[in-house]
Subunit: 196 residues, 2 copies
Amino acid sequence: MSRASERAYNNIRSMILSGELQPGSQIREEALAELCGVSRTPVRDSLRRLEAEMFIRRNDSQRSFVADWSLDDLEDAFQLRAMLEAHAAKRAASRITREQLGQLRFHNAQLKQAIDIPNPDVPKFLDHNRHFHAIIVAAAASERLASMLGQVTEQPVVLRTARHYDLENLRRSHHDHDELLIAFDKRDGEWAAAVM
Amino acid sequence: MSRASERAYNNIRSMILSGELQPGSQIREEALAELCGVSRTPVRDSLRRLEAEMFIRRNDSQRSFVADWSLDDLEDAFQLRAMLEAHAAKRAASRITREQLGQLRFHNAQLKQAIDIPNPDVPKFLDHNRHFHAIIVAAAASERLASMLGQVTEQPVVLRTARHYDLENLRRSHHDHDELLIAFDKRDGEWAAAVM
DNA sequence: TGGCAGCTTATTGTATACAAATGGCATTCG
DNA sequence: CGAATGCCATTTGTATACAATAAGCTGCCA
């Protein structure tokens, strides 16, 4: 993506995620253009993308509003994400390479290190966790699936932080990763999907 | 969507689906603009959308090409579609209204009429079939799910025709619809998903 | 002859001006 | 007083000109 367009996209997106742009509020192209220091053209591009990603809604007369997700929406996204990740795991089980398996093991070990200490290193955990999942998605080898997962993984950022900082969940998550690795070792797609 | 933009989108999309634009061939914004009788601006919008829908790919320097799906891609899309539709059916089972159930029954009856005659009326069958599925997606009440299904249902149009004109498949399809209706009646999401 | 440098051309990105459409407000008529 | 209608302001859509970037070609040099 080119410079102005990318700046506009990142700016607007982060303004939405940070709450700087309030959910439900109308957004005008020109105002955003000024905020981002670009013209309306790249802003329009960004708005279209963000609309596709459901960060933005448009009413019937094409005016844009910051999306405000209901609890139902978040639950819905989470459900979809779970299903898509399960599917990714199933596909990955039969396609994953030795090298990818090795990377998975590496990140899982780092994961374990991050929480098996008196003061858990949560950012480190999240980082390796992200890599872990990314490798699985890559191993699933479906662009479509990857793009769909992209659409649902980033949405509930606000809530996610709260949940992920719970140490017990982190431990459980690590345990699940262990089980996933075994399933991958056995190339057992159904098991992998079930764990996810 | 506004007039010029919509024209561009529909034109380009149908040119891709009809093969008028050959898979793998490069497409230039200006050429499309002339073909559609609009300026590059709405064409660019359309290309962005079509790229998101994976009808178009871009190389690293932003040049656009008509996507050419491999058999793997089509299979992948089909797999995803099956999974998403199963999920839609599951959600629909617990949310469908009496009115929607009635509509489902109506279309199913029409479906049956269309193929239970000496000369099956295939277009009619496909039309009611489409409505049937649309109602289920609507009953699932998940915008996200609907938009994802939109992304995978239209892709393999080329192959779909061949398969759908097979009378035996039409009959089986109708039978499955019957079973789905029973599952919905019982509000049995798992059953509905399995049928799908 | 092969490959690289620089230029030329083709293509996309951005800005801006203008057109179209929509919403809101005020005025008027019942 | 309420509703409908017409006008004005605001916002988005489209076209076009220009800028930036990448690809392809030509000619030079090893």
